[in-house]
């Protein structure tokens, strides 16, 4: 799965780079990156908010917000441009793709300007020079000294990050485990699945300061400046925008704003953050999650059903060239959708279609899941239609009803009754599977629980909460569906 995912990203990236390469050569003479932002009046910053104190979720005045020193840097750049900053959260893996597909205008996420990344995006000057630490369990403090003490052990790092690559390169006999979010890594550390987590020094300090069970040790990685510095990433070829941003970044460096203002401010959020880590305190976050999960599920079931009916009819079309082509297309569609992972479909709709139309994450999620569900529903319906006794169809036709009227009033109602249990299962499956859209940053239950986790540094409690919530949702849904199923029983 993971491997396929990476492959998919690589593919998407090449695709996107191809596109941008085309557009940049065309745009080389007319770089409108700066005027575009000024016209728009907003600067959209993409970030992966699970990396305190760089960026993380905090509850500010009762509302969940992304804060941290990177957000302060983003605000400064936006302010100097005279526009408003909009922060968009997504997984670290998705950030560069989002940048290249125009979902975001810039990425500030503790990102190192490595040569590999430079091939695909433009970087500002560095706004912060950090270093690496390894976070370990305090109880192991005597055992581990630096990166070389983990022979035969496992250390973790955020997938796609510089630490991950360097940990792989610069250790021997050590297993390096990658996970998408740092809070997951910390959880793995505390449950002794891994023995250390490599991360940037300020992050390590933040985690240690907020969790008495943890300790930080120096990493002693041999690193170049570009591996330890953080820069703002922009789409390739947006020189005017980069030059303008560099003015802000240079000022941040000159006046040492990160250490003097941004880090202390971020630290304050971290402190208020740990005061009340009870799950009840976060009921609003969970409620939002339920709300989005239900919106996605209900919309997807609705559209998926309509699509499923159309697809199943198309799959059963018989006759001329047109109908044969229709049948062939519908069959190909169903086979293709059922033969590819939903996660990839979600990303493809969000990032791939994003090249043509800029759809919000929620819309993309609903579209992708509807498209997916439609293929499965089509098969249920086809089975349901085939299960309707042919004698009934003939009776209807002998009364003079057209094939369309027969389908609508005689066959479909019976087919639906037959497949109602399968449709119900599909609904319940979607309640659970809608969690996949969390990867594109839709604030459904899983996404919200991740926020609560990075917010409270409590790994298990939010998972337990959403598990119960999912169960309540699916259980209620199945009771309601059973009720209707009983009411439809006439024979």
């Amino acid at each position: 799965m993971k491997k396929r995912l990476v492959l998919f990203f690589a593919l998407l990236l090449t695709l996107v780079t191809g596109f941008t390469a085309m557009t940049t050569t065309a745009n080389a003479a007319t770089d409108n990156s700066l005027t575009k932002i000024e016209k728009k009046g907003t600067l959209v910053m993409g970030t992966s908010p699970d990396y305190p104190p760089y960026e993380f979720q905090a509850t500010v005045h009762g509302k969940s917000q992304v804060v941290g020193m990177d957000v302060a840097v983003g605000k400064k750049i936006a302010k100097d441009l005279g526009v408003k900053l909009v922060v968009k959260s997504m997984s670290f893996d998705s950030l560069l793709v989002a940048l290249q597909t125009g979902k975001v205008d810039m990425v500030i996420s503790g990102m190192n300007p490595t040569p590999a990344r430079r091939k695909n995006v433009d970087f500002s000057h560095t706004y912060y020079q950090g270093g690496y630490s390894i976070v370990i369990n305090k109880s192991d403090k005597g055992i581990y000294k630096d990166k070389d003490s983990f022979v035969g052990k496992t250390i973790g790092a955020q997938t796609g990050s510089t630490m991950y690559n360097e940990s792989k390169k610069q250790t021997s006999g050590t297993t390096v485990k990658g996970m998408t979010s740092v809070s997951d890594l910390i959880l793995a550390l505390q449950s002794h699945k891994i023995q250390g987590v490599a991360m940037e020094k300020p992050s390590a300090q933040a985690y240690v300061a907020n969790n008495k069970e943890l300790a930080a040790i120096p990493s002693n990685f041999n690193l170049s400046a570009s591996d330890t510095s953080a820069s703002v990433a922009f789409a390739k070829g947006s020189t005017a925008l980069v030059n303008k941003a560099n003015k802000s970044v240079d000022q941040i460096k000159r006046e040492n704003l990160v250490n003097k203002q941004y880090l202390p401010a971020a630290g304050k959020y971290l402190k208020t953050n740990t005061v009340n880590t009870s799950m009840f305190h976060y009921w609003k976050a969970f409620l939002t999650g339920i709300e989005y999960t239900l919106i996605i599920t209900v919309c997807s079931v609705f559209f998926g059903f309509i699509l499923g009916v159309l697809l199943s009819l198309a799959r059963m079309a018989k006759g001329g060239v047109f109908k044969t082509a229709l049948r062939w297309l519908a069959t190909a569609y169903v086979e293709f959708i059922r033969g590819t992972p939903m996660m990839v479909q979600v990303m493809f709709v969000y990032f791939g279609l994003g090249l043509i139309v800029n759809l919000p994450a929620l819309t993309s999620g609903i579209i992708a899941i509807s498209l997916n569900s439609g293929a499965y529903v089509a098969e249920y319906i086809r089975g349901g239609i085939n299960s309707v006794d042919n004698g009934r169809t003939e009776a209807a036709r002998s009364l003079g009803m057209s094939s369309g009227t027969t389908m609508r009033y005689v066959i479909l109602p019976q087919a639906l009754k037959n497949i109602w249990p399968s449709l119900g299962n599909e609904f319940i499956t979607l309640i659970k599977d809608s969690s996949i859209v969390s990867i594109i940053g839709v604030s459904e239950l899983i996404f919200q629980s991740n926020i609560v986790r990075s917010d409270t540094y409590r790994g298990v409690a939010p998972i337990a909460v959403i598990m119960v919530l999912y169960f309540i949702l699916t259980f209620t849904a199945s009771r309601i569906l059973n009720y209707f199923e009983r009411r439809m029983q006439h024979d």
Partner: protein, 246 residues
């Protein structure tokens, strides 16, 4: 002489390489009751289904009221099917609808009859088949005899000129055969044109104007019931009758 309502000319039907109907030329006049008998597998159902084009003939003509069905477009075929009610061995009621809804569906969706007019019509037809007290029942709760009577009422709701019956009593328990045959007899008395495939020889003798004996893909004999049963002409028919009248 009256014009025939159904005329079949050189009708043939193959299923793949299997010739089921070979060369049939017959006609049905208005008001006539035709009973088709013959051994199992001889093509009686296939023939009946060719009359309203549920089965597409391989060659030949089926004329209804002077129009050759095999050359018409789907829309016109649908219109002509309204005028040929069909009753099946296995009733084929719509299980998701009440008795009343079963009868109302086609008049409302095909003839665009108003709801209350359709309800009124359905109740009248149910009275005719002695089932008005079951109007709100669902098919699953009916006995076979009741279901078949509902199926007859449903076909009559389109006000057909001809009724086709394919072994309407073969799936019934013996004690229920009578109630269905009575309804059919009543219809015949009212002057309905009927083509009936059946093994009920009593019905053939008392109600039919004409008996067609079918075997090996041909109508072997066409005669009045009296003549046919007392004096069958072909060896095939003599053989068949001797077997079933034993």
């Amino acid at each position: 002489m009256t014009k025939p309502i159904i005329e079949v000319k050189n009708l043939a039907k193959n299923f793949g390489k299997n010739p089921v109907l070979k060369d049939i030329t017959e006609q049905v006049n208005p008001g006539q009751v035709i009973v088709i008998i013959g051994p199992s597998g001889s093509g009686k159902s296939t023939f009946l289904r060719c009359l309203n084009l549920l089965e597409q003939p391989t060659s030949g003509e089926v004329d209804f009221s002077g129009e050759n069905l095999t050359t018409l477009d789907t829309k016109r075929v649908n219109e002509l099917r309204e005028q040929m009610g069909m009753v099946f061995q296995s009733f084929n009621l719509f299980p998701n609808m009440s008795v009343l809804e079963n009868i109302k569906l086609a008049p409302m969706k095909v003839k665009h009859m108003a709801d209350d007019a359709a309800t009124k019509l359905a109740h009248e037809l149910l009275q005719q088949v002695n089932l008005d007290d079951h109007a709100d029942a669902f098919p699953a709760s009916l006995s076979g005899g009741q279901a078949q009577r509902v199926a007859i009422a449903r076909a009559l709701a389109m006000d057909p000129k001809v009724m086709l019956f394919d072994e309407p009593t073969s799936a019934l328990d013996p004690e229920m055969v009578g109630e269905v045959l009575n309804v059919m007899q009543e219809l015949a008395n009212q002057g309905m044109t009927m083509v009936v495939v059946t093994h009920e020889m009593g019905f053939a003798k008392s109600v039919a104007d004409q008996v067609w004996f079918m075997a090996d893909g041909f109508i072997q004999e066409s005669n009045t019931p009296d003549a046919f049963f007392s004096n069958p002409q072909t060896e095939r028919a003599q053989d068949f009758l001797s077997k079933i009248l034993m």
